[in-house]
Amino acid sequence: MKRHRERGQEVLLTLPSFLWLALFFLVPTALVFVLALRPADPFGGIGRGWTLATIRALADPQYLAIAWRTLWVSFTATAICMLLAVPTGYAVARASARRRNLLLMLVIVPFWTSFLIRVFAWKSILHPEGIIKKALVFLGLVDANASLLYNLGAVILVTVYTFLPFAILPIFAAAEKFDYRLIEAARDLGARPFEAFRRVFLPGVRQGLVTAVLVVFIPALGSYVVPDIVGGTGSELLGNKIAQRVFVDRNLPLAGGLSIVLILAVLAPLLAVLALQRKAGKAVPGDGQGRP
């Protein structure tokens, strides 16, 4: 009798969010795979009947080049983010309590600041009339005619800028829990500082590192605003193509087909991490964190 009521309560509490997410997340995502096989209708809608037009259009080599570029940009931006985020996360975790709160807040504020505004801030300082361009020309580092905007470099720079706070926070969270006596022990046993960092600290915060890589790499794959605002025609990514198919060509099925490519690109690193963690989980029984 009591179990029966418990079950009823569980269903009652689960149902609202479950139904909502099934209806507005699960079903639409599945629908993309189906609707990609429909013909486009000339008014920007979805026609009747079935066609392979989308799949044929996806075979166009331009899409392969763009998919490759998207992967490359995301990978580079993630690598730079990690190089900056690991020392920062470490430093914030090791600061005194009062300074740590201040530093943490300084990292969190950009996190809450409007994404568009942060991208726009870079557009205006990289602008030909902007402060960085003028400074670089003044120092003779850049030709007066060179453009700092509308290229892949600008896209990577601004992607790093917008995603860096997301990378710092999980590394900080892991570094805060790390037992720093382990580093002292390694040093006492003769490890040089960098060696102790690499062989003791990094494996100790592995969970934070994995999270940081995922929270930068996956959104970067779907990046649309950054290449749209600071990139040029030579730095378009998958996200730009999806938006163009929706807003310019009004070909929804093809936009859907391109999103399937993106979904596959997103799933690959996620599944890789899951598989690796399962393997690691078997090696170290009982401790999901992989801490020694």
Binding site: P87, T88, R94, L116, S124, E129, V246, L252
Partner: protein, 266 residues
Amino acid sequence: MRRSRFPFIMTGVVLVFFYLPILILVVDSFNSSRFGGAWRGFSLRWYARLFREPAIWESARNTLFIALLVTFASLVLGTTSALALHRFSRSRLQRFHYTLVYTPLVVPEILMGISLLMAFVACGIRLGMLTIILAHVTFCVSYVALTVLGRLQDFDFTIVEAARDLGASSWMAARRVLLPMLAPGLAAAGLIAFTLSVDDFVITFFVAGPGATTLPIRVYSMIKHGATPLINALSTLLLALTFTMVLISQRLSESGALKSRTAEQT
């Protein structure tokens, strides 16, 4: 043992990197010059212009209306979800439920935008305020659910049991004991939902249709059409708002921690 100074220097560099562009933008909003880069004297003319742009204020009103509705709806859906996930954590239904709540967080925004757009078009739903609200609730629910779930995991449920032992009905215990103690967590989750809704551009852009304009969509078209000094002024106002909200949320989480600590002692 001497610690390496390198991480601390790097942190300084990162913070300069974070704040320099924002600082330049704020300073430029008071620059009388049409282009940044050259200082032509202090002026509030861009702010004055901003207040004469009815389109901006209309989109701000839309944004606020959407965000308030979305915050309320996602708080209700997210809190029930978190309660279910916490109380019945061992059931198989909840494992699936958790995956369903968690996945939207790792999906790039553009995918959620395009899939919702295709679903709305396929079902013949007219794009506008309604579709924006439906889309926003969908991505806010997950954030609310996981934030509240985090609070529930630190929560001492023996207090609720004590209330039940003293004769409170389960509804009474939820309303008089659980909710008040959970209030700071709910406020933090609500603030996250509100900010996400106000700030969202990509998903909104996909499902908005021609009729409904929110503030980020307005800002985007201003960026695209080069109304630079106006965006500087608008951004500065939004930044001031953000800083205030972060301060408030910091206070809330501090007082929340304080409350649960005093609750433990009594």
